[in-house]
């Protein structure tokens, strides 16, 4: 089967259109968030779910409504026909469809190496985890910090390490791991803020919607737009957990200080200032990481965003606009 034939087949049309539909959804969702100045990460996340979920269903649903949607005549009148671009040949030799397939391949590779395999490994390790580290004694600063949190207490383990380590395991055996270096560095309020943030992660990981969303995201492993959007959702998840932590502790500045101490220790150097190419990659990563932490700190400083109406009307308007436009994108 030639490449152009592949993109005329059902599966080929599904792949090409799901990427186009995700792109349109991502653009409209971003504009919608900006137009209505939506700051609450929980509402923002709800909007971004459209970008993850709609491309999975859009093509089969549209085809069921109108089976002639794939026909030549529909394509001629469509708002945008991806096959026109895919049948283009650069310098009369190199088909753009080949470039498209290369993009699909790279996205698939990134999805597996950076998301699917690490998450599966984390899940397996969480199940098999033999509690590495020691439980803190009742008089320790960690136990005192945990004591005043008004939630179900997870298992806490202290790892003997001077580096700053803080992470939680989800699944059946939920636990929070802290290093001795981290405990020495933070005061009681900051430890409490850090623990509250991790507890928020554990609580959210139990929600079936989050698990379902991840499974849906996996089904779009080839889609570069979904890959980017899912990362935005993960970043917003951090902000949501920050908000939950602030609600639990009532001390936003303790969490701000914790974030600054743990993650925001380096000088803010823009990657363009670095001349050695080998260091640019690392600098870019550090720069974007710092930007994310900066955003989280900024959001905490602004205080919790309370949208009066939960944004449902705006959500429905956005969803309808996306659905109508994508119908005419083949």
């Amino acid at each position: 089967m030639s490449i152009s034939n592949f993109f005329n087949s059902y599966i080929g049309m599904y792949i090409a259109q799901s990427i186009c539909h995700a792109l349109i959804a991502a653009i409209i969702v971003d504009r919608s968030i900006q137009a209505w100045k939506i700051n609450n990460p929980l509402i923002k996340q709800r909007f971004r779910y459209i970008v993850i979920i709609s491309p999975i269903l859009s093509f089969p649903v549209y085809q069921t409504i109108n089976s002639g949607r794939g026909s030549v005549y529909f394509r001629l009148e469509a708002l945008f026909d991806i096959n026109r671009w895919l049948s283009l040949e650069l310098w009369g030799k190199f088909p753009l469809s080949l470039l498209f397939i290369i993009i699909l391949f790279i996205t698939t590779l990134i999805s597996f190496l950076q998301e699917i395999i690490p998450i599966l490994r984390h899940t397996i390790e969480s199940k098999e985890s033999t509690s590495e580290g020691e439980t803190p004694d009742d008089n320790s600063i960690v136990s005192k910090a945990l004591e005043s949190l008004p939630v179900e207490k997870p298992d806490i383990f202290i790892i003997d390490d001077n580096d700053f380590i803080l992470f939680s395991t989800t699944g059946k055996n939920t636990a929070i791991f802290l290093s001795t270096g981290l405990v020495k560095m933070l005061n009681i309020e900051q430890i409490q803020a850090a623990l509250a943030h991790e507890i928020a992660h554990i609580t959210r990981s139990r929600q079936p919607l989050i698990l379902m969303l991840f499974l849906l995201r996996i089904s779009m492993f080839f889609n570069p737009i979904v890959l980017v959007e899912f990362r935005k959702i993960v970043q917003e998840d951090e902000q949501i957990c920050d908000n939950i932590a602030v609600t639990l502790t009532g001390k936003p500045y303790a969490l701000i200080e914790t974030l600054k101490k743990l993650y925001y220790t380096h000088e803010d150097i823009a990657p363009v200032q670095i001349t050695k190419p080998s260091k640019i990659g690392a600098a870019l990563e550090e720069y974007s990481h710092n930007m994310l932490i900066k955003n989280r700190i900024m959001q905490l400083e602004q205080g919790l965003a309370h949208e009066k109406d939960g944004g449902w009307f705006k959500f429905i308007v956005t969803f309808i606009v996306i659905t109508i436009i994508n119908y005419f994108i083949v």
Partner: protein
């Protein structure tokens, strides 16, 4: 209230701009690649613009169909395809479609004449070619028939809203 209106207006403007950009992006490949699929006004124009030497046109044409074709679509990239539609003289609906598509290409001309129920499917000898003749019913139990065969590097298909007698005459007249 004023802020709400401005937000909606801003969102609406964004959507309008997006639609305009999509329209331009859709037109661009047609401008770059002249032999992408598009409408043509005559068979001669297709021959001239796309340099397709053999376009199979019937010399016999039943009186109840209108000539010239009501619609002609053709392309040379990614593969050659020519589709001609003819309307019924009295009813005005599409009643005959002739398509010639590069052999092996996955190309669905259109579903404007869709045989919903195939009653008979036989191999029919058409001037030395092994054609496949299908006879059945379209929408509203209207008799429909289709014949297709390989002609050089093309697959030719003729589908008609009528019993097979006229269809075979049309197909036969396309070959020498």
């Amino acid at each position: 209230m004023h802020r709400k209106f401005f937000s909606f207006f801003y969102f609406a403007i964004t959507v309008v701009i997006l639609i305009a950009v999509l329209k331009i992006l859709n037109w661009l490949p047609m401008a770059i690649q002249k032999d992408a699929i598009r409408r043509y006004s005559s068979v001669e124009e297709v021959r001239l613009r796309l340099n397709i030497k053999n376009i199979y046109v019937p010399s016999y044409f039943p009186q109840n169909f209108t000539w010239p074709p009501s619609e002609i679509l053709a392309q040379n990239k990614p593969f050659t395809a020519v589709v001609m539609e003819f309307k019924h003289r009295e009813r005005g609906d599409i009643a005959l479609i002739i398509s010639q598509v590069a052999a092996g290409a996955n190309f669905v001309p259109d579903k404007k004449i869709k045989i919903l129920q195939v009653k008979e499917k036989v191999t029919y000898p058409l001037k030395g070619r092994n054609a496949v003749l299908e006879v059945g019913l379209c929408k509203n139990d209207e008799p429909c028939s289709r014949i297709s065969w390989d002609e050089g590097k093309y697959r030719v298909t003729v589908v008609m809203k009528s019993p097979p007698f006229d269809l075979i005459k049309v197909a036969d007249s396309m070959l020498r």
